[in-house]
Symmetry: C2
Subunit: 217 residues, 2 copies
């Protein structure tokens, strides 16, 4: 139980992540409509429902530490909606790659930052970011799509690069705007070379995911 | 554990309901985008996530009795999507009324039919159809909308009538098309006057819901 009011950075971190989950729910539910079969549609709808469960836990945590979820999320709505509107999948394989690669990228970032938060916050964040079999599903769906139409491998590789590009761009906007998060990041990593190391680790894991999908990164 | 293969009626009933839940998930998630606040949006997204959980249980049950969920749902996709496309809410109060009145109507129908299925099926159906505080939310949101703009009460009453009309029309199409369900219904109620009684009970509960919302039925 925190004796003092929660730090601005923790409220920002939970607020950004909570809105990230709520918007992931919304967009995954939407993208499920691109699925070629009811089974695949149900699988992506399930991912959406899981994200909603995560949102719920983060919102509950915000309430528990005395913050208002709506106010905590508000500063991050624009950046996340911009990310989603610039990365709206137009095919099923694109939506699968986004669900795995885009959300994986976000998860890696939050997982890194969670290290610098208090223990309870860090634990909750690590807990809501478990992957839950998404890799296996993505690998299967992308392999099936590429087998049917080999030319899309190149387009999906480009798509992966676009997802990273837009994610980095929106993260920079948010950090430029939210001093508390920027400070958490810089103080947590120690200095700017620490930030560079963090970016390197996230990029490495992104490339690993693209390799798993059989796509160039 | 059924020793014999499941009856066609039970597979149809579970399939129709499973697709009903999957499409309710989809449309509630979509309609959440009409919410005036993040809190209201989260509340409707939660309803969607709950419907997905119900879908999951129904699909699991289909698998358990040896049926393929995708095949079981397929005959009902067109009717349910037609219902949703003809009742696409264009405002937040419309989406709230649909979530409460439209889904309530469907729930009453399934609950009646569940009486004629085997015990395990009936129990599962009654279990996934619990309302989970939706009434309270709908009453609150509709009251707030009408207080702000009294003229919409008339439009929402019309909207309620449209929801019933389209639901009845699609149910008739499905029953005309699926002998097993029609037989379950007629044999279960005893005869055509039994069917009339069932329709009367569903209509009564619909009117009750409209009254709760403060709207003419």
């Amino acid at each position: 139980m925190p004796a003092s009011p929660p730090s601005a950075a923790v409220v920002d971190l939970l607020g950004a992540l909570a809105y990230g989950e709520l918007s992931a729910f919304d967009h995954l539910a939407d993208d499920a409509g691109l699925a070629p079969t009811l089974t695949a549609r149900a699988r992506m709808s399930e991912m959406a429902a899981v994200e909603f469960g995560h949102y719920q836990r983060l919102a509950d945590r915000l309430v528990a530490i005395g913050a208002d979820p709506e106010a905590a999320m508000a500063p991050f709505v624009a950046a996340l909606e911009t990310y989603h509107s610039l990365t709206k999948p137009s095919t099923w394989p694109e939506s699968v790659v986004k669900a795995y690669v885009g959300d994986g990228l976000a998860a890696d970032f939050y997982r890194e930052v969670a290290e610098f938060a208090d223990d309870a916050t860090g634990e909750l964040i690590r807990d809501v970011l478990t992957d839950a079999g998404r890799a296996e599903f993505a690998v299967h769906e992308v392999a099936a799509a590429v087998a049917e139409q080999p030319a899309i491998a190149g387009r999906l590789a480009l798509w992966g690069r676009r997802l990273v590009g837009e994610a980095i761009s929106q993260t920079q906007h948010v950090l430029a705007d939210r001093d508390s998060l920027m400070r958490l990041l810089v103080e947590g990593t120690g200095d700017l070379s620490g930030v560079t190391g963090l970016i390197g680790r996230i990029t490495d894991r992104h490339e690993e995911r693209m390799r798993e999908l059989g796509l160039a990164s």
